[in-house]
Structure formats: structure tokens, C-alpha cells
């Protein structure tokens, strides 16, 4: 008993010592430390450096101690276009409340606003990054939180980098960020078991979201809008995409969501609107596409013949120019219980399910697949007549592609 009390007492004392040892270093133009570098040199692991309002030049300030860097009143760290701004090399660092701007840019090195290299448990929160080549660059880092940041890139067509760039990371959390005018909004390569939530990625030159070889990630509630080529994801297994919005990605090679060699994934409750192509599937297998809305896209879905065992259920298709197009007669996917606004069937038994199957591939979309310039004849009487004739007696469109139980009414969400 006594030993236990003594032990607790010692524990208490040591805690107090740590708390006392954890000092706050204040950086400001009229404070003890005038630059962050000086404060860093004087700090120990576990300290907090508080930076007062002001403009601080920061040419690749390296943080190699486990400290908390807090900005009061949004101090500015200016890279002056010469180098990176902040590099974090230690575990457990927090960077909170800064305006970081003007990195160098160029093709020889990926200059970043905030770089995290081989450091775990880092937190990057409440920062604003402006005119940065790469925004936040994580490599070989685990358990990092990137939250509430506002990133604006250079917007330059060739000289711009990625907003949030991940390379070989695990268990990263990226939430509530806004990314604009970068090359790729969010870029992942070998980033696993991560969560990407409530971000807005828009006006990026290339992709709003781009990842490869990044298994077991979750994408929830993000908005990808007006990006040069929409969203492209490749060579990945077991991803979950829920409640995301993909909109206004228009252009000749632009896709709301481009999936290439993706398998065992879930795409649910997303909204695709006003894209040239809503979702493009190439070599995808075992993907569950359920409860999504496809509104006013050019092609709601383009499903290539090398996809198999994909399942489409409870989706709404409204106002799309074409609901589905494919490039062959081979088809091993399933459509069931979707709502198609072009469905012209009837419901005699009143179970709200149409009694005749709906064939989402129209003759004309097959013709366009072969001769894209025939797009000028869209909606002409001739084409309508051909489509109707084909619907009555299918000969060119693949007989096997159909929704056996189309809904009569759209699904309210």
C-alpha cells in the first residue's frame, strides 16, 4: 500500500516536472526571440513556440524537435520564392494557424509549403497556403492529421505542383481543407488506410483527386468541382467513396470520376452532375455503385467491356444525354433497380417497378462510340427514329445490357 502511494507521488512529481519543463517560447518582432529559427534552437522536445502576428521570412525552416508551433493572429511565413518554407523532420510536431506563402517553383525539385519527411504523428491545422508550388508534401509519414487548411496554388499551366501530396504514408487524415489552382488537388501514391473527408478541391489544372496504389482509403463528403480533368484513380483495391460531389468537370478528356484497375470498392451516395462523363470504368471489378445520383452529364457511365462483376443499384439517372455507353458486346456487370428518366415502360402490377426491362445503351451512343463527330446529329428526327427502331428490335446494341427492374419513380434522397 505504502509503496503504491510512494509510486503515485513520484509519478505526480515527475508529471509536474515535465509540465514545468514544457516551456513556451514566444517569437515576435519585439519579443525575446525575433525569428523562429532562434526559438527553435533554444527549444527542447515538447515545447511550444508561439509566433505573434507579423511577417517572417522563412527559407526552409527545419523543425527537428517535437514541438508545437502556434501562430497567433495569422503570422505570415514568407518563402520569398527562393526555397521551401517549412520542413518537419521530427515526430509529434504541430503547426497551427500560419499563412505560408511564396515557395520557389521549378522542375528540378518539388518545393513545398510544408514538407513532412519521415515523421509520425504530425498535425498541420488551420493554415493558409498561398502561391506555393506544392502545398503540403508528406513522404514516409504515418498518422498525420491535415485539417482546416486553405491551399491556393500558382494556377500556372506548367509550373504548378500538387496541393496535398502523399508518398508512402499510412493512416493519414485529411479533412476540411480547401484546395485550389494546383496541378492535382490531392495526390496519393502508396498512401494506405487513410481518411479523406469534407475537402473541397476545385479549379485545379489536372485532377481534383488523383491516386495510385493507395489501398483501403476512405473518401467521404468531398467536393471535386471544375477541375481540368476531374478525378482519376488507378491501380487500387478496397476504396470507399461516400457522399462525394463530382461536378462541372467538362472537356474532351475530362471525367467526373475515372476508375482504372480498381477492385473491391464501394461508390455510394455520391452525386455526379454536369460532367462530360460521370464515371468511366476501365478494367474494374467487383465495384458496388449504389445510391448515387447522375444528373445532366454527357455520358452518365462509360463502362468498358473489360470490367466485370460490377453492381449498379438504386441510382438515379436524370437529364443525362446518354445513360450508358460501352465498347463491346461482352458484358458481365449488373444493373438493377435504378431510376432512368428515359425509361418508357409501364407498371401494370403497381409495385413501382417497371414491367419491361430498360436498355440503357442506345443505338446512337454505340454509333458515337465509332464515329464521335456524328454528335452533330444528336436529337435529330432521323436519329430518334433509328433509336426507336433499335429499341423495338435490338440488333446492334448488346441485348444483354439491361436493367430488369427499373424504378418508375426517382429515389428521393
Amino acid at each position: 500500500m505504502v509503496r503504491r502511494i510512494v509510486f503515485l507521488f513520484i509519478l505526480l512529481i515527475s508529471q509536474c516536472c515535465i509540465a514545468l519543463a514544457q516551456q513556451k517560447l514566444i517569437v515576435g518582432l519585439k519579443e525575446k526571440y525575433t525569428t523562429i529559427e532562434k526559438a527553435l534552437a533554444a527549444s527542447k522536445n515538447g515545447d511550444e513556440i508561439i509566433v505573434k502576428k507579423g511577417i517572417y521570412p522563412s527559407l526552409n525552416t527545419v523543425i527537428n524537435k517535437s514541438i508545437t508551433l502556434t501562430g497567433q493572429g495569422q503570422p505570415v511565413l514568407d518563402g520569398k520564392g527562393k526555397d521551401e518554407v517549412l520542413t518537419i523532420l521530427a515526430n509529434g510536431v504541430t503547426v497551427n494557424g500560419f499563412i505560408i506563402k511564396n515557395t520557389n517553383n521549378g522542375s528540378s525539385k518539388d518545393y513545398a509549403g510544408i514538407r513532412v519527411f519521415k515523421a509520425n504523428n504530425v498535425k498541420i491545422i488551420n493554415n493558409t497556403l498561398q502561391n506555393t508550388f506544392f502545398g503540403i508534401y508528406l513522404s514516409d509519414a504515418d498518422d498525420v492529421l491535415v485539417s482546416n487548411n486553405n491551399l491556393t496554388g500558382t494556377g500556372h499551366p506548367t509550373q504548378s505542383g500538387n496541393g496535398i501530396h502523399l508518398w508512402q504514408c499510412n493512416r493519414i487524415k485529411i479533412e476540411n481543407n480547401t484546395i485550389r489552382r494546383h496541378r492535382d488537388g490531392i495526390y496519393f501514391e502508396f498512401a494506405k488506410q487513410s481518411l479523406i473527408q469534407n475537402n473541397l478541391s476545385e479549379q485545379n489544372n489536372r485532377y481534383g483527386l488523383h491516386f495510385m496504389f493507395s489501398d483501403d482509403d476512405k473518401y467521404i463528403g468531398n467536393t471535386f468541382r471544375n477541375n481540368g480533368s476531374g478525378v482519376a484513380v488507378m491501380y487500387t483495391k478496397r476504396i470507399t467513396m461516400l457522399k462525394n460531389v463530382f461536378e462541372k468537370n467538362t472537356g474532351s478528356s475530362s471525367y467526373g470520376l475515372l476508375l482504372k484497375d480498381i477492385s473491391d470498392s464501394r461508390i455510394e451516395y455520391n452525386k455526379f452532375s454536369l460532367n462530360t462523363t460521370g464515371i468511366y470504368f476501365e478494367g474494374c471489378s467487383r465495384i458496388n455503385v449504389t445510391n448515387n445520383d447522375f444528373f445532366q452529364n454527357g455520358w452518365a457511365i462509360r463502362l468498358l467491356a473489360n470490367c466485370e462483376s460490377d453492381h449498379f443499384e438504386n441510382n438515379n439517372f436524370k437529364g443525362n444525354t446518354f445513360d450508358l455507353s460501352t465498347n463491346g458486346t461482352h458484358f458481365q456487370n449488373k444493373f438493377i433497380n435504378n431510376y432512368w428518366d428515359k425509361y418508357e415502360g409501364y407498371d401494370m402490377d403497381r409495385n413501382k417497378i417497371g414491367d419491361v426491362p430498360y436498355r440503357p445503351v442506345s443505338l446512337y451512343s454505340q454509333v458515337l462510340e465509332k464515329m464521335p463527330y456524328a454528335v452533330m446529329l444528336m436529337r435529330s428526327l432521323m436519329v430518334n427514329l433509328l433509336d426507336k427502331a433499335e429499341k423495338a428490335i435490338p440488333s446492334i446494341t448488346p441485348e444483354i445490357i439491361k436493367d430488369e427492374q427499373p424504378r418508375m419513380q426517382s429515389i428521393a434522397r
Binding site: S252, L274, G298, T321, D341, V367, M376, M378, R379, L381
Partner: protein, 255 residues
């Protein structure tokens, strides 16, 4: 000239066909807008119908009216009136009444349900199509004396422009699909007023699809203000040239 127009208008109002046409258009567009929850989809259905009905009715109504009032025209020619004025007066009366029918039958429902640029574009192209096909019908009826022949000719023209022409283009595309045909298609479609009208509306409606593939090319050529100006100019040419030719024939015609 305006006096002739006044007589024609009087006559047309007594004639029930045009009123039936107006009511039909009105009921149709109201139904479309009322039944479809999405006004854009209603416009797309209306586009299909307008592109068939408006040229057809313009052609048939004009030709039959012209032949029915042949005696009246002969009477007018006997008066000290310029033949150009007589013909233009007739044209104004018929084209004007068709336009009014379209304004009431399509314009009012659009104002009621979907006053947006897309629907208004449809409305303007509808009016231009009325004018164009009325003048084509005038050309048919002035060119032939026989009523059956004139009706047949005008029906043929309608059928050619709305079905055969697109079929021909599709055939050309199919047989020459190894060649780059983007510009060719563009030029070919410009020679058909129905196609051109459809494309003007489509450029606003299917923006997403048209931005893909070669559609982007058409969008960049036709979608700009300059492109729209050119396509409207071509439509105006389609309406003025047949009318001028028609006036020229009518001047020298032995009635």
C-alpha cells in the same frame, strides 16, 4: 402591301386551321412543362416536336392557303398594284400569322413555366424555322401551277430536310469513317435549316456531352457569339433567298 396583308390576316382568322394549330401548340407545350418535373427535359422533348411540327405545318398551311386564294391573287394582279407588293403582302400575312401562333402557342407557356435562355433559344429558332419554311413553301407554290404538284413538292422538301438529309449525312459518315470528317459534318449540317436550328438549341442543352470528344470542336466553333451570329445569319439567308427567287418568278409568271 399592308392592305393585302390585312385581307390575308382577316381571311386566316376566319379560317379555323391556324387557331387549331395555335391551340395544339399551346396545349402540347403546357403539357410538356406541366408533366416533366425538369423543365430542361421538357425543352428537349419540345425541341424534337417543334423541329418536326413547325416546318411541316408551315409548309402545308402556306401551300394550301396560297392555292386556295389563287383567285384572289388573280383579282389583285388585275388591279394597279405591283406584283412584288402583292406577293410580299401575302407572305407577311401568312408568315406573320404563323409567327403569332408560335408566340401564343410556345412563347406563353415558356413565360409561364420556364423562362430561361435555353427555352428562349428554342422559341427563337422556332420562329426562324416558321419564316424559312413559309418562304420555301411560297417558292414551291409559285413554281408550280398545279395544286397537287405544289403540295407534293413542299411535303418532299419537308421530308428531305427532316429525315433524308440526316440519313444521308449518317451514311456519308459511315462510309468515310476512316477520314477526319469533323469540319465536313459541320459544313454539311449548316446546309440544312432544321439541323442548324437543332444545333443552336443543343449547344445550350447538351453542354456536358458536347464538351467531350469532337463535340468540343463544335462547341468552340458554334458556341461562341461569333458562331451563333453566323448560324443565325445562315438561317436568315435560308429565309431571304427563297423569298427573293419566289418574287422574281412571280413577277414574270403567266398566271
Amino acid at each position: 402591301m399592308l392592305k393585302v396583308t390585312k385581307y390575308v390576316l382577316h381571311d386566316i382568322v376566319r379560317n379555323k386551321i391556324l387557331i387549331a394549330y395555335t391551340v395544339f401548340l399551346f396545349v402540347l407545350s403546357c403539357c410538356m412543362f406541366y408533366l416533366d418535373e425538369n423543365p430542361d427535359k421538357a425543352v428537349s422533348s419540345l425541341l424534337t416536336i417543334i423541329n418536326i411540327i413547325v416546318p411541316l405545318v408551315s409548309m402545308i398551311f402556306t401551300t394550301s392557303y396560297f392555292y386556295n386564294s389563287y383567285e384572289f391573287i388573280e383579282l389583285l394582279v388585275a388591279q394597279p398594284l405591283k406584283r412584288t407588293n402583292i406577293l410580299l403582302g401575302e407572305y407577311l400575312g401568312i408568315a406573320g400569322s404563323l409567327t403569332v401562333a408560335l408566340i401564343i402557342g410556345l412563347g406563353i407557356p415558356i413565360c409561364m413555366y420556364a423562362l430561361n435562355p435555353l427555352a428562349l433559344t428554342l422559341f427563337y429558332t422556332g420562329i426562324l424555322l416558321s419564316l424559312i419554311f413559309t418562304s420555301l413553301a411560297f417558292l414551291c407554290s409559285v413554281a408550280t401551277r398545279d395544286k397537287a404538284k405544289g403540295m407534293g413538292l413542299s411535303l418532299l422538301i419537308w421530308f428531305f430536310f427532316s429525315v433524308i438529309y440526316d440519313g444521308l449525312i449518317l451514311g456519308i459518315l459511315y462510309s468515310f469513317s476512316d477520314y477526319p470528317l469533323e469540319k465536313t459534318v459541320l459544313v454539311l449540317t449548316a446546309f440544312n435549316p432544321i439541323d442548324l436550328g437543332r444545333i443552336i438549341v443543343m449547344l445550350q442543352m447538351d453542354v456536358s456531352a458536347l464538351m467531350g470528344y469532337t463535340g468540343a470542336l463544335y462547341k468552340t466553333i458554334l458556341g461562341t457569339n461569333w458562331g451563333i451570329f453566323i448560324s443565325i445569319a445562315i438561317l436568315l439567308v435560308w429565309f431571304i433567298i427563297p423569298l427573293l427567287v419566289c418574287v422574281k418568278i412571280f413577277k414574270k409568271k403567266n398566271l
